[in-house]
């Protein structure tokens, strides 16, 4: 058994800083002092606040006196737990045996994730590489990490808090490292810390030589149980966490977000969590939804909706966070938000489980297809789905109905080029035969434009057209309202271009009262 412990020393600060993302970057520079307040006392501070003299334990007013520009947030265990879950999800991509180490202080959120990785070492190419990839997969979540390894779960959790975190592969090394660790790292030890210090017991190793009965009487059974679990003398079963079937994560913004750019900042945090949840299940998201809860306006007859939902569907399931952000940005840029946003929620249910795409160094056919799908998605996100179109031939003799444009469907169309490639790069056998049978058609079709007539010759822009070929009679469509009875000619304009004109045969036909019409140009 080899346990890896991921300890997030400043989880509560980071989870609070994520809610600040709603404020614009100018308002929250990197050196902004941040502190969390719990029951009117400072609970946690960042480095910038520490530099100004704000320490944990100070009163709120004292902290404000020391650093007037400090951002004070309320400590919130539920928010921390919400931020902790994605870290566990990201770890689930490496081993199924992932559990959260319960917090030592009552009421606080867990801040350590435990992974049992013995079975995954071979697959990931050793502990070093595994840890490297683990760090890389947690990095988008934006947490500072302390990673320790030990032969026992409890031991790893303790060693992750030692500065610097220790890595011990064997039980023997784990015991040695634990013996040197300070005693207050043990969960129950914290409450008895002063008593232990008074007795001259500073290291865990100092406790080992003492009579067990006496220790249990003074400090409780739990301390002994924890030491035994850490030293591998007692079974320490852990309940592995299972990702929820449906993803839902919320982010309450510290400041209300007025612009879509601010909303996007917050949504990026949620998207990183979504990607971690997807990675845990080796899945790809096909559709997700961003809910923006608005500030309520207490006015009579105010019609502002409570929330705006933004539904984003993908043509190709993805878990590439950069791509998802781009799509979201394009969609957000189009949405007009009725009111400032206070809270964001991201939901995803529609996922696809499949093997991860193999990483390619050089561009391949598959990577090009994928890139093309993303390009189309990006264009559709900004221009609208129906603006990216595919052409299709329709069986109709009337030229204006022989082809139609339809929005390029989100689902991948049958790739004719692939089918053709299978046949050896030849066009379909029917197409060539069809092309030769079919008389010439112009590439450009326009709405029929009536032409003037002089001496029985049609005029275009005041100059006569020379008829070169025709007539080709098209008489079709009596079954629907648009009967066409036309004689088509290919004509040449004065500057030498070829145009397609027709003469309506019957004055009764719907296109007008007879005469010449320009219908197309040979491009």
């Amino acid at each position: 058994m080899l346990w890896v412990a991921l300890h997030l020393p400043s989880l509560s600060l980071e989870s609070f800083a994520a809610t600040l993302a709603g404020a614009s970057a100018a308002q929250a520079p990197a050196g902004q002092a941040i502190a969390l307040v719990d029951e009117h006392r400072i609970a946690a501070v960042n480095a910038a606040a520490l530099a100004q003299g704000v320490k944990p334990g100070l009163k709120r007013a004292t902290a404000l006196a020391l650093a007037p520009r400090i951002v004070l947030g309320q400590a919130d265990a539920a928010r921390d737990a919400e931020a902790m879950l994605p870290v566990a999800h990201a770890a689930l991509a490496f081993t199924p045996n992932v559990s959260l180490q319960p917090a030592s202080a009552p009421g606080a959120a867990a801040d350590t994730v435990l992974l049992e990785v013995q079975g995954s070492l071979r697959y990931f190419g050793g502990l070093e590489r595994l840890l490297q990839r683990l760090r890389a997969s947690i990095e988008p979540l934006g947490h500072a990490l302390a990673i320790a390894c030990a032969a026992t779960a409890q031991g790893a959790a303790v060693l992750a808090r030692v500065d610097p975190p220790r890595r011990c592969a064997t039980l023997e090394a784990t015991r040695q490292a634990l013996a040197a660790a300070p005693v207050w790292l043990l969960g129950p030890g914290r409450s008895h810390w002063e008593a232990l210090q008074g007795m001259g017991l500073r290291r865990i190793g100092d406790l080992l030589g003492l009579p067990r009965a006496g220790l249990a009487r003074r400090f409780g059974e739990k301390l002994l149980a924890e030491i035994d679990a850490a030293f591998g003398r007692r079974a320490d079963p852990r309940e592995p966490i299972v990702p929820a079937r449906m993803f839902e994560s919320r982010l309450e913004l510290f400041a209300r977000a007025d612009s879509s750019e601010q909303v996007l900042h917050g949504a990026q945090v949620l998207l990183a969590r979504l990607v971690a949840w997807l990675a845990a299940q080796h899945a790809f998201v096909r559709r997700f939804r961003l809910l923006m809860h608005h500030e309520t306006r207490w006015q009579q007859g105010d019609r502002t909706p409570q929330a705006t939902a933004l539904e984003i569907a993908l043509a190709e399931p993805s878990r590439d966070s950069a791509h998802l952000v781009v799509l979201l940005r394009e969609r957000l840029a189009q949405v007009q938000l009725p009111a400032p946003t206070l809270e964001l929620a991201l939901q995803a249910e529609d996922i696809v489980k499949r093997a991860a795409p193999s990483g390619e160094l050089f561009p391949t056919r598959q990577s090009e297809d994928e890139g093309l799908t993303r390009l189309i998605e990006r264009l559709q996100a900004r221009l609208g789905v129906e603006q990216v179109q595919r052409l299709a031939a329709v069986d109709d003799h009337r030229p204006e109905r022989a082809s139609c444009l339809h929005g390029a469907a989100l689902a991948r169309p049958a790739r004719a080029s692939e089918r053709r490639a299978a046949r050896g790069g030849q066009p379909p056998p029917g197409a060539a035969a069809k092309a030769t049978r079919c008389p010439a058609r112009p590439v450009w079709l326009q709405a029929p434009e009536p032409l003037a007539e002089r001496n029985a010759r049609p005029l275009l822009d005041g100059r006569p057209l020379g008829l070169l070929s025709g007539p080709e009679r098209i008489e079709s469509g009596w079954w629907d309202a648009e009967l066409a009875e036309r004689d088509y000619f290919i004509a040449e304009t004065a500057d030498g271009a070829l145009v397609w004109i027709y003469r309506a045969r019957l004055p009764l036909s719907s296109a007008g009262e007879g005469g010449w019409f320009l219908h197309g140009r040979f491009g």
Partner: protein, 304 residues
Amino acid sequence: MDASALPSVSARLPRRPPVEPLASDPAVASVPQDGPPAAVRRAPETLHPALWLGHQLGRAGVQTVASGFAALDAELPGGGWPRRVLSELLLPHPGVGEIRLLAPALVGAQRAGRQVMLFDPPAALSAGALAALGFGVEELLVVQTRARRVDGPKLASLTASREDRAGLGAARRPVLPGSDSLWALEQALKSGHVGAVVAWLPPRLRVERLRRLQLAAHGHDGPAFVMREAAAVARPTASPLRLSLHAAGGDRLLLRILKRRGPPLETPLELELPSVLSGAARRRSPIDRERRRFLHVATFVDIA
């Protein structure tokens, strides 16, 4: 040393008159010169792909796609449509034979399994005509970045019904902002996953916009054609290749190379396009008849 082997290395200067002392005086010739060695002077493209002699076509370093017209290939630097840059085509109006001119290159890209994208075609495309030119019609992607115009009030009903069936009618958005049209083109060029791009640009496009597209085209591995109005000839361009197209009667296309990496081409090229007319019909063309009459006269004069 032959005088013709001594043109200036500087790229754009026309051919200079030969400098006599260098060629004739052996004492001067034997003295080591400051300039580059003779081999480099003959073929400066070996030094850097962006260099070429004033009187010859730039060849090395230009990746090209055969245009399908031998006469045109001979006049284009590198022997075909350039990749990774914009090729600018100036048209007096749509329908002078531009699609038939580009068809071999575009169909070639489709045959290679790559995507061809059309941006803002000026009119409705006919699937039958494109299929006859060899296109895989269903694989073409048409991107409408500007909302489609409805030409005349008289014919609005016909147009509207067509759009309704295409799913464009009711849900169609109003005219999109102008920046979107170039944004979409730029994205397609930058992505590098598109095989060939044909774009009909809005009129009176500012040159810095075009330069931006030209920069984006560096990532585009394939030909990129932009169609512009004929009046754009008076404005400068950022693209290294600029052609103007004119119809020349029958199934012919008159093509002027206005700008290329090489000397300007004085005489326009006349290309025979894939024909839409039968032989008999082509002979009926008045412009063609006139041309043949000139040909007769020329032949007669020659014999005389």
